[in-house]
Symmetry: C2
Subunit: 257 residues, 2 copies
Amino acid sequence: MCQLLGMNCNVPTDICFSFEGFSARGGKTDDHKDGWGIAFFEGKGCRIFMDAQSSVNSQIADFVRKYPIHSTHVIAHIRKATQGEIILENCHPFRRELWGRYWVFAHNGDLKDFDLPFMDFYEPVGNTDSEKAFCLILESLRQQFPMVKPPLEALFPILKRITDRIAKHGIFNYLLTDGEHFFAHGSTKLCYIVRKAPFAAAHLIDEDVTVDFNELTRPKDRVAVIATTPLTDNEVWTQIQPGELLTFLDGEPVKGF
Amino acid sequence: MCQLLGMNCNVPTDICFSFEGFSARGGKTDDHKDGWGIAFFEGKGCRIFMDAQSSVNSQIADFVRKYPIHSTHVIAHIRKATQGEIILENCHPFRRELWGRYWVFAHNGDLKDFDLPFMDFYEPVGNTDSEKAFCLILESLRQQFPMVKPPLEALFPILKRITDRIAKHGIFNYLLTDGEHFFAHGSTKLCYIVRKAPFAAAHLIDEDVTVDFNELTRPKDRVAVIATTPLTDNEVWTQIQPGELLTFLDGEPVKGF
């Protein structure tokens, strides 16, 4: 199994605090040490840092912990391999292009007896169940909407349908974003918190670090953090229910989806 | 205009020496300061570091200069914007998937009156002539060979044909690789050197740094370095001729292509 961390905000924000606690689980406070990765959107642009080493020992992870990159859409992953070797092409998050936008995906879980049908557009590079699932999601969206990204009302039901179909094969917690919408699907374990005014101090579970967001934010800032398990021990995190697909936009869940 | 740096080797090698000289051109010894990027293949896996800042000021570039990543296929680029804003999605190298492999591309030059035809598979995310050209190359290869990567004898003439067609629009020096074959196309300025036994010391043009490869290599190592202009002042670099498309494999140009 693996662990997921996501962030969606209404203004570009750095994820150093959350990533510090999260990346400690990659070999220090937990044993997800078979690689890690993190994707940052900046506008339509997207960059990914990754390593097949554990996030605790990776010098690149060390750099990411210390270097604040401001982004509105972030997806991070630490891997405990269940399917696929411990090599770079099997590290999450994965990225492909659809409708002239980059899409980024990371998965926590395990899919059994999951084979891809014939695919017109997308093909996995590595050999994980996760990358297969990502390719099938994009393929399904593209078959349904060949030319341009549809409005969320049209996109959401198709995404939900293919998600439900894939989820029949096992555990399928995932994060997915194109730098505009941010999707989080709960299967067994995924939770979130929305930080907004009035801001308070937060204390990490995995490291003895406290940040007072009141000192770092402006009144209109809004930040949603999504993670496999809570990252802080003095805040209330909301569980995403099994089978629930949430859409985050500008730092909070979109109502009605 | 921009500058290109590529490396293809028969054993994973770090590019720190060449990148040190090359990245100095991103604002110190030359004025290519509108972003930079570098892609490393490790097997079929590929990671890209990039920044819309100059390579001289970028903390990420500083990290890459110091942290040796061993790779057999590397493409780096420093940008001096001619088309497209100075934003992350316009930074090279670009990456897409074709035939279950990542393909990476960087371009030096300027293409005029270059519009894409209708595309089935690939669409640019940014708005540079370079990403358009990359998408058209992959589209052409995929239309010709829909299912699997063909042998080099079949792939090369199709790549050459689409390259010639695009090159009619202006200056089109490029580097392209899928982690197996490494292509370098000369239009105005591109040169290369193959380092193999007996190895000697090399001295950078852009920084006063010397490396004695004799101390760092084994007798069977072979490394081709491709760059817009020579990076060292005590070695003989070979110019790639205008219109010439070279294929590198295991650290040297493949004969007969």
